[in-house]
């Protein structure tokens, strides 16, 4: 029952933060979508970091290390520590400047202008929204699974079918309701405040679990000495080419619509400096404890007995839960479960979907003059309600395929990075190249996804490399070749996006 109380308290804090931030909501669409571009360095860092991290940082990292060794940190965390800030600096910062200069709020608005193609938005919207939906579904399923694991026995009579645990459908409904509540009333400002709190909780609880588990196993040195040496190395766990090509996966943050919108919330360019430096440090603090817990789990036994903490043949995804439950107390189990929930941030994704639908479809189709600013907020809220309901409904589908699709979503987003980089830095890239790149990237991604038996083959590689390498290369080749074979953009577009004096304010604004 203690974990239920802790998780309930955590959700009440989220509601409270939503109510607090709603007091500062200015009622405008600019405030609802991008917090009036007013976030300072600390909130920007906490928001972007909290949004970029998923439950994988805690549960998945521990499970992956338990199965495939400590190389998990190198292939996922340390590559992200380098590539995420590179995306923030090379993509986020210029897009923030362009957004401020020309009033962009979504990627599609930028792409439409940059490529002089109103139709491009109608191609991009389903691709971006389609890749985002499974990501949201996974988040909700993760919440259902974690809460189910730590509440076993709490309600033996009410939920006998789940051995007394809160059933996933109820957990997911409650969390959907809470997220919808604070996103509905405060938009991006609420999400930012909640993300600051969630980042503190998720990093803090990881460190707490690490400390207490180490203590229970006789200290960090004893715990490491008991772990399997085969999991302390990369050889035999992951191929060198596969390890290398993992650098492309974190590129996805450069294209995620919700991260893009986070970029635009910054008050000034200087706000990015703290984000660039602290993101790698926060990656280290968040991932290293969980990686070590996964490593220790390979040899951990219950104190005073020879019984393994993780029984042979058990699910790797249960490793963190078992280590916490068997080596610490119910209070810590509840706190760690709250940490996992905090890592699963769905708010920014919902706001991004609502913003894209409102600005890129409704306003673009019917014209901005037909709507008041408050109408735009209402439309976004309505679409967010529909998306939360759809996401919840999708959790009742067959889950294996959705989980598999989720891991592939990152590859799809990462595959579009060459197009975004070309748009920002290459004057010669053309509208035809942009359209061709979106179609080719989506087609190659889908062909590989189908070849992997729709994600069922978890070790699917192309020439020893992750599929993202092929998707990325296809997009790059298409952008370059089609651009060189078609007419360059107009002089007006080039003058707009590559001005000779970028400090001059935009005349339109």
């Amino acid at each position: 029952m203690i974990p239920v109380v802790i998780l309930g308290s955590y959700l009440l804090v989220l509601i409270g933060l939503g109510l607090v931030s709603a007091r500062y909501f200015r009622g405008s669409s600019a405030d609802y979508f991008v917090a009036s571009r007013s976030l300072g360095p600390f909130v920007l860092f906490m928001t972007v970091f909290g949004t970029a991290m998923t439950a994988f940082a805690m549960v998945g990292s521990t499970a992956e290390t338990f199965e495939h060794g400590v190389g998990t940190y190198g292939k996922l965390a340390s590559w992200s520590a380098l590539v995420h800030p590179a995306c923030f600096f090379l993509i986020g910062l210029p897009l923030w400047a362009l957004g401020k200069r020309h009033g962009y709020v979504t990627q599609i608005e930028y792409f439409r202008d940059r490529f002089e193609s109103p139709g491009l938005g109608y191609v991009l919207f389903p691709v971006l929204a389609g890749l985002l939906l499974p990501y949201l579904v996974i988040g909700l399923l993760g919440v259902g699974s974690v809460v189910g694991g730590v509440t076993v026995g709490a309600f033996p009579e009410a939920f006998a079918a789940t051995r007394g645990a809160v059933p996933p459908w109820l957990t997911m409904a409650i969390l959907s309701g809470v997220v919808l509540f604070y996103v509905f009333i405060g938009g991006a400002r609420s999400a930012a405040l909640v993300n600051v709190f969630q980042t503190v909780v998720f990093v803090g609880m990881g460190l707490l679990a690490f400390w207490l588990i180490a203590d229970s196993l006789g200290g960090p040195a004893a715990a490491s000495a008991a772990a399997k040496p085969a999991k302390a190395i990369r050889e035999g766990n992951i191929g060198e080419l596969e390890f290398f090509t993992y650098w492309m996966i974190p590129l996805s943050v450069g294209v995620f619509p919700h991260i893009f919108q986070n970029f635009l919330t910054a008050r000034s360019a200087r706000s990015y400096k703290l984000l660039l430096v602290m993101h790698p440090v926060a990656m280290l603090l968040a991932w290293l404890p969980c990686i070590l817990i996964g490593f220790w789990a390979t040899g951990a036994t219950l104190p005073g007995t020879g019984t393994p903490v993780v029984p042979p043949g058990g699910s790797a995804n249960a490793v963190l839960g078992l280590m916490v439950a068997k080596l610490t107390s119910p209070v810590v189990s509840g706190l760690v479960a709250a940490g996992v929930l905090a890592a699963i941030s769905l708010d920014a994704q919902f706001i991004a979907m609502g913003t894209m639908f409102t600005r890129d479809i409704v306003v673009h189709r019917f014209g901005a003059a037909r709507f008041t600013d408050r109408d735009l907020v209402r439309i976004a809220r309505g679409f967010i309600v529909a998306m939360v309901a759809l996401t919840y409904a999708l959790t009742f589908l067959e889950t294996r395929q959705i989980f598999a699709l989720g891991t592939w979503c990152f590859s799809g987003f990462a595959g579009l990075v060459p197009l975004l980089l070309a748009a920002l830095y290459w004057r010669r890239v053309t509208r035809a190249a942009a359209c061709a790149a979106v179609v080719v990237t989506a087609s190659v991604w889908f062909a590989l996804f189908a070849a992997s038996d729709f994600g069922a083959d978890r070790k699917f590689l192309v020439g020893g490399m992750l599929p993202v390498a092929t998707v990325f290369a296809s997009c790059t080749v298409t952008v370059v070749l089609v651009s060189l074979l078609t007419s360059p953009p107009s002089a007006a577009t080039l003058a707009k996006f590559f001005p000779s004096n970028p400090t001059t304010p935009c005349p339109a604004n």
């Binding site: 940190y73 400047a97 200069r101 009033g103 490491s224 302390a232 990369r234 901005a368 109408d375 400090t503």
Partner: protein, 85 residues
């Protein structure tokens, strides 16, 4: 490319290459008795990455963005929406 930019770009290029620590891929030594050597290496590597981004902020920050900030310190209005009824 100016000298600080070139040096920092080279610094990141070297870090990118050094990520592939194949020389320790089969070494199970525990640093300080706790951290597998490859994991310890990547933890330190991460701190070097953070230092690299500090160098970027200090020596090759695109200062024109700060100037543009001052020039456009009022957030742009959303596109031509009608005033509230």
């Amino acid at each position: 490319m100016t000298t600080p930019r070139a040096v920092i770009a080279a610094y990141f290029a070297v870090l990118f290459v050094l990520h592939q620590d194949f020389w320790w891929k089969a070494d199970a030594t525990l640093v300080l008795g706790v951290l597998p050597v490859s994991l310890a290496y990547h933890a330190v590597w991460t701190l070097f990455v953070a230092f690299g981004w500090w160098l970027v902020g200090r020596y090759c920050w695109p200062s024109y963005l700060d100037e543009a900030d001052r020039a456009t310190d009022t957030p742009p209005a959303p596109p031509a929406a009608r005033p509230p009824r």
